[in-house]
Symmetry: D2
């Protein structure tokens, strides 16, 4: 088990906030009980196979920079096997409870549809054994319908049905693999499901095509015994200039329109939310208040940059919001906290991968503890209850019940006169927020 | 009729593209027939009362700069009457066929709900006479539920039902005014319907409140004989940090969720679309393909600036897209082309107002002529038909009809083999687009 | 002394991080010694007269919302006097050591240049007495050359020299006031010094005009005994579409070009830096490394919004960076920490003003303590020393000394062979950063 | 000569605006005389070797998609030779007068510094012959100091002098190649010259390193007889989070600080200017007014996307501004119009490359003709002369001559009284601009 990561010989341990050891957890303590459950139960961290094991450090202006020992075999299938071994060695040493994958991350594409399926099946067997050996579980699977040249103009939304068929083949086997490995979710991220110019694009038609794929995949999943949920992951742009699944609200509208409401939840990513002009908390709340927050990608963007930087989540503010919303909705039965994050290009070493994940896990452990403290004290809940109290009785309640006409409302306005100006107390709340973050949430 | 705009004594005339006269139309020729209808029928331009007659040039860093002769009366109601006279003098001289207003643009708020209604009624009578005298018609009306201090935390979405009631009172009388003046649309723009921080905000509750207002207003409208449509105008932010009506897709989802689909269409604004991260054409297309494009605000933003600059539309590209989409959907039966644009702050003179509107009208006249030429030639339509031909028969048609399983699609993929790489021809299409714009669309 | 703020009867006290009192400091303890000096010496907080006492809550979509008791007098000069009394009552109760003003904040414009000067002089006398009575000092003064209509097309950069002359008159008296009140800085912020369209603008000429004003003002300042420094405050846009003083680097280039290097430093604002596409830390570092960081505006922007939101600084990350850089350069001899921040529009009450300033002061007190801890440990300094060690000897040092030719450098490359890939350790450093922020900096 | 582009057998011909042939110029007529010189003399178009011949269509979410016949050889050097042949076949058929290259575009890196130099020399010989055979000339050369893994943390600005040395080796031979091929420019674009986090970066030191490279390279260039100019190409971000050469103004400041003013001009790129928050025209004007506009990259960005999209320039507005500024400064003696543009990823075919370049050349031909017409009419020049007339005499002239004190200026303000409000006439100017673009510039 020290084949690929000899730098780290033992599992990463919890040493507490006083530790100087960069290879120890400061806050993530799997067995610590918070809000009635262990941290391990709350924080279903998943390592992203693509970034952590297949990432090369390539960017639009330069090629790969990492020299990974698991990428040395000349035969692609052997390389895939080595990578899988490396992945489970890493995850076991890190103590990450879950992982996530795209079909093409774990197995190279073959010479034909059948050949690709065969290669994938072989790797899935290996993964299943490794899951059993290590206790690491699959959070969700997905098919990569965006990297291959054939998907350049879309997979489900391609103008050519032959490309759609290729996508179907991949989804089928990715679903098979997800079921085989016990995944509770299956994700659709439509990086190429969008368009570059309306001069050559029929949006309505293309979105109808995508809805068909969802229905076909769900029907298939039911036939093969998939017990989890589908998740759509919104993103506004990149790689497609305009992606159809812009943000949580857009996807919710799509689900309603195309009859997919009952079987599709949302996987909300921080960096995608900010690229769409929202905060992470906003899109989490939109999804959660619709009963549709299924899973999270807990990376982080850079507000100065206009693309998906997929940094590891060290921003505790965002973690507090995320955990607050998750606690409010009672957890994530089918989903979890997938990192979808990559080390910066110049972080060449395997040890950087450990630092990155440890930092992210500690940030969310901090977030959980702080959010729990806030909720225990009723911070936010009490303030909201008081602020909207007027809608719970009398005129307000009548309005919400649909029993007030416009004229009656005018009469009420005339009767009540000019409303008082009631401060929103934003600065007070922000100061309290900071007290929880810096002064009392963790101590 | 030369009381307020003596600089322009006669109606603005069409003089053609060769004219050097800045106070003449170069392309907008009301009687010219394009695509079977006159320009006047296609281009239902509406002057925005708030910007053109009530704009002061104030911005966040400076006060008003315009010295308008219609704003000199000390009595607010007399000032409102003078402004209405000025407005119709301007619109008659410009030859603008329509106008749009907020209640508080045309009439100052009174000391009470009843007083405000009384003042508004008086001004509406004056407006009705002026409409008759000049032939200028009302496109749509709306209530200003964002400028008054009471709406700071929202109108329909306010935590205090007393503020909701105030909003209802305004909407009632704004609807009355719209019906009285023959408007075919009524707009809801929710500048304050949103939030600043989730620490003090319950989004779900607030959106339910807003849906109630829509239902109450529509019911009232039906009772008073309103024959037009409601329009929601999306905008992502400003003045509220997060507005609920982010963009076309978000509003369409909201309409589906809250049972408002049948009576609310969309009023799409260029600058709001770009602030939401889209192009104008994108949001127009989203609305139109849902059968929901009711009306347009045809201003223009500045891609370097992150707020609503509301510039006059001189960008012919956008005008071509807008008119192309409008022609495709067969026009705007209840809506039109409202400018919602203001002269730059340093354009102090009344003559600048004429220049601005003339430039905008000419830009959309250019857009109409060019779009018509494109459509006559089948540019875009032919390309789309060819590009998506595969979905109209065989496997593609079967998929769309819901008669193909995932396994069958995989079998098709295996049978057909790797799809051909078919260029999207984006550069070719852009070159043709430029030929229409610069070389052949107008000449 | 309880005339305007009866809500707060005693000076805000330090109660420590455990306090639940929203009207107490949690971390700002003026007498606490950090890094060899008291917090009061390090943290020269200045209250911004314009936002805190003259802010109305108006925004582009709505009018003023605050009902301030000091704004009730009908006579503008009396109102100005009441406002000055209110300001010093507030500052004394808050315990803010400094204030900042624009001429037009503290005194209304008169009917003529001479009249304006006369009114200003009277108010300055009052301010001087209040300074003496309370111990609150002036950090810097400035002239408002952007709000009046005459400055719409620029003040120093106006196409009309008559407007330039008006600006000179204001600058003269604002300098007089600054000297009279003992200010150690004088700020130039050029909100209107820029352009809207190049169609009517000669940038080069306009910038030469601005340089003339700087020279004229400095010469005058020397004649009247001004012992402080001039500060230019960069901002990229708003209100002018393009402001000339885009960011720190742009202004440094301008100072070099126009011979102003020796007498102008920079006043760097957080929100302006982010609007320019930088981080606050970046622009602080650019200025500091040039020896030109004179003063700071310590507000905060909103990454989702494209304009100057001027929020109070509750982001401790930014405060740590700012204090780290200030400690590194040995303090701010002529400048300090001006808030330039305003409460959110819906924070109507005087108590919100206290909350806002307390939160900002506590955030920077946290920042100071954390930055000091980092510096004591050599975090960053040690890492930098090690990372750049190669440049301090041998080939690297020879290069920097200008003693290596391109051919010799090639020979060195050939000799040394392919460089090792050395990780930048960004994730490690970010984790440590978080440890300082959450775990050990404050505790 | 039909080895790689059999689709196009003859040189692209000028057929005029009426032509429907997508493989013909509509406006670019090399021999047409405009403003006293031929179009070929004005429009020194350069094909970018990297995008057009080495572009693969890879993006951050997918691999290469193009199947280029010149990329089939297994031996990298043979592939390089084939690519060079293909390049000159393309350029000859297109009729492009110039080309640009990075060292690593035209020749693969070898096993050592010496080996790389040897390979490059061989390819340069081939290029020289092809230049002679076709008449295509080199506009500028450059070294790719950003793609190789070693430059991840910077080339000249790397913390490791060994990397600096590698960069020197490349620059030396790229300069040799530029001189050998008769290039009149040599470009420095510092994609990796910047930083990701200040936690590990010393900006001041790194910028000093970069300045050393410039001096070393210039000294070397002088020794080998380089008669052209150095150009720095600004860009604010991507791939580095913060690049040091942010925009034109930043680079001008750097040149002044580091003694490089006399030998470095600027190469301004449209997409880089917009990423920096400016317009193309703004950064062109900043450079030109400093006498420093040396060359242009005439691509185009997408205002909705936050990264370098490098689209072909079909936006005629930008082309008119660019040509107006170039005509005003009397041309580009050492530089030209490099496309630095790539076809959209889904434009798979060789014919798309032709369409793209033809469209860009026609757009700039349109721009030249329109700008010339504007200049003949004195549009802009006359308006500017009138607008700033006040500064050319009397008080204004005295101020600019440095002969007015602040007190004297105040006296002038008092004497002259409140300035008149003079409209900037922005809408009038924009309407005229549109008349030139659509109505009279081309016809």
């Amino acid at each position: 088990m020290d084949r690929f990561f000899p730098e780290v010989s033992l599992p990463i341990a919890f040493e507490g906030p006083g530790s100087d050891n960069p290879l120890a957890f400061k806050w993530y303590d799997a067995k610590r009980v918070v809000a009635g459950r262990t941290m391990a139960e709350h924080l279903k961290f998943a390592v992203s196979y693509w970034h952590t094991f297949q990432g090369t450090g390539a960017d639009p202006f330069g090629g790969g920079v990492y020299q990974r020992p698991w990428k040395t075999a000349a035969d692609p299938v052997q390389q895939a096997r080595d990578t899988m071994d490396a992945a489970f060695e890493f995850m076991a040493k890190l103590g990450a409870p879950y992982w996530c994958f795209h079909d093409r991350d774990i197995a190279p594409e073959g010479a034909s549809v059948a050949d690709s399926a065969r290669i994938l099946d072989g790797i899935v067997k290996q993964a299943k054994q490794l899951q059993k050996a290590t206790g690491v579980k699959l959070l969700w699977g997905t098919a990569n319908l965006f990297s291959h040249a054939r998907y350049c103009h879309g997979a489900a939304t391609n103008p050519d049905p032959a490309v759609f068929a290729q996508g179907c083949a991949q989804v089928r086997h990715a679903l098979d693999a997800t079921v085989e490995l016990g995944g509770t979710g299956y994700v659709f991220w439509g990086g190429r499901e969008g368009y570059s110019t309306l001069l050559n694009t029929d949006m309505k038609r293309e979105q109808a095509q995508f809805a068909r794929l969802l229905h076909m995949a769900w029907d298939y999943g039911q036939r093969i015994g998939f017990k989890g949920r589908f998740f759509i992951e919104p993103k506004p742009k990149e790689p497609s200039t305009h992606q159809y699944d812009v943000d949580a609200a857009t996807v919710l509208g799509f689900l309603r329109e195309h009859g997919c409401w009952d079987f599709v939840d949302l996987n909300i990513e921080n960096n995608h939310a900010t690229l769409a002009g929202h905060t992470f908390a906003h899109d989490l709340m939109v999804a959660s208040q619709a009963g549709k927050l299924g899973s999270l990608d807990i990376n982080r963007g850079n507000p100065q940059l206009g693309w998906d930087t997929d940094q590891f989540p060290t921003n505790v503010d965002d973690a507090v919001w995320a955990m607050h919303i998750i606690l409010d909705q009672g957890g994530l039965p089918h989903g979890g906290l997938n990192f979808d994050a990559k080390v910066r290009r110049g972080s060449y070493d395997a040890v950087d991968l450990f630092h990155a994940h440890i930092g992210g896990m500690d940030a969310f452990a901090r977030g959980l503890i702080i959010a729990d403290k806030m909720r225990q004290d009723g911070f936010r809940a009490k303030h909201l209850a008081e602020r909207y109290a007027g809608w719970k009785q009398g005129f307000g309640a009548e309005v919400l019940a649909g029993r007030v006409t416009l004229e009656q409302a005018e009469a009420e306005a005339a009767r009540a006169g000019e409303p008082r100006r009631i401060s929103g107390r934003e600065e007070f709340l922000e100061n309290r927020w900071n007290q929880y973050l810096y002064d009392r949430g963790l101590h």
